[in-house]
């Protein structure tokens, strides 16, 4: 681990352990650089991380404070979802029911989303994810066959992302997401076991590889009463 990450980790635990108390000043950057025997730039980089996490707040001329933080101390499962549900839901029983698993040529829309030619086949996958025995989310996923090669029913019954990571050594750079509310389709009603008039929370997602190629397009449809998305925006310019 690099120095600034290690220092950020140490200071973070001092905050959560109460050594640096809420709403009080922490030592200034020069003092910290002497304590950790690093340059001030390195200390600043460590503090940048904590500021992005919303743990501290810095004011030119005054110093660095520990933030009052109501939502931050909670385990905030922020909207970082492209590492898959399996990883997020550790400690829960997560099952997958495969509803559809085919290979087909892409639609116009999918050609655009995945930036592929008509001739590149895509996996078309519909999975119902069941959390602790209850229907949780219905996922409609498209992946180009040249990037997610060798998918089998066995793999997609478990964790696709584990397979991609461990077997194909695929790395992601990030994702584009769109969240909206929608009416329940017949599909939603059947598999999520919800009423015609129950709202659905849909997350449309395009995941990108490190080189910028789109790797997956999916629409995840959630029951309105089992899922919400929380996140934190800190340190934006005003």
């Amino acid at each position: 681990m690099v120095k600034y990450e290690a220092i950020a980790k140490e200071i973070r635990s001092r905050i959560t352990d109460g050594i640096y108390k809420v709403e009080s000043l922490i030592p200034d950057q020069v003092t910290l650089s002497e304590e950790f025997k690093v340059s001030r730039m390195t200390i600043k980089k460590a503090l940048d991380i904590l500021a992005m996490e919303g743990l501290i707040y810095r004011q030119r001329g005054s110093g660095t404070f520990v933030m009052k933080n109501s939502p931050l101390n909670e385990k905030n499962a922020a909207v970082n979802e492209y590492d898959g549900l399996t990883k997020q839901m550790q400690g829960h029983k997560l099952e997958s029911k495969i509803i559809k698993f085919t290979v087909e040529f892409p639609s116009e829309e999918m050609m655009e989303h995945l930036m592929i030619e008509k001739s590149m086949p895509v996996y078309n996958l519909i999975r119902l994810r069941i959390l602790d025995g209850k229907p949780y989310v219905l996922e409609h996923t498209y992946m180009p066959t040249d990037l997610a090669t060798g998918l089998t029913e066995e793999i997609i019954e478990g964790s696709i992302y584990k397979y991609l990571h461990d077997e194909l050594n695929i790395k992601f750079s990030g994702a584009y997401r769109k969240i909206r509310a929608d009416k329940a389709s017949k599909y939603d009603q059947e598999y999520l076991i919800c009423d015609v008039h129950d709202p659905i929370l849909e997350v449309e997602q395009i995941v990108y590889l490190k080189d910028g190629r789109p790797f997956e397009h999916s629409r995840s449809r959630h029951r309105y009463d089992t899922r919400s998305f929380t996140f934190i925006d800190m340190n934006q310019k005003f």
Copy 2:
């Protein structure tokens, strides 16, 4: 403007103008530092910004590429909302209809969200925002009276955030948000002019001041067919 911001801006326009073409290498950091006559650290800081925006991707040993970007070139009104709707919706006609504007003692829930005592009065404000003549969002807002002092009907008919910024010189550090789908309440139906069975997209938001104090709690309820939230997560660790 500081150097690295100016350089980021220049490189950003070279990308959007097609001078640096998609999927191709851009000049290396040393070359750029010579061109802009700055140190390499400053170039790196400029590139950090563009990487966070998802415009470029850097690979150790290889260089810096322009990302293939479908959603990124679009005007992505990301989820940075605490600077108010007025600022975001420039070019559109935005009206506000005040439905409720009172001062009251906080509920247990609001005491917790805003981290205030029972004795600190809060503004309770309900506004319907009307975009280009159509009902757009119904906002339920609570603000402590000691932080948002001097609110009047006149102010809240326009831009509250402009008042806070220009008159009270208040600065924000960020916000906590939760997005969910919900059924339409009687209120929603009446003011957003929607059907009993239309889903609602609700954004719950707590905005924080620079010193970490909670400044506003709001629930913004949107028609499901007029609003979605898009955002980009880039450069996460995997």
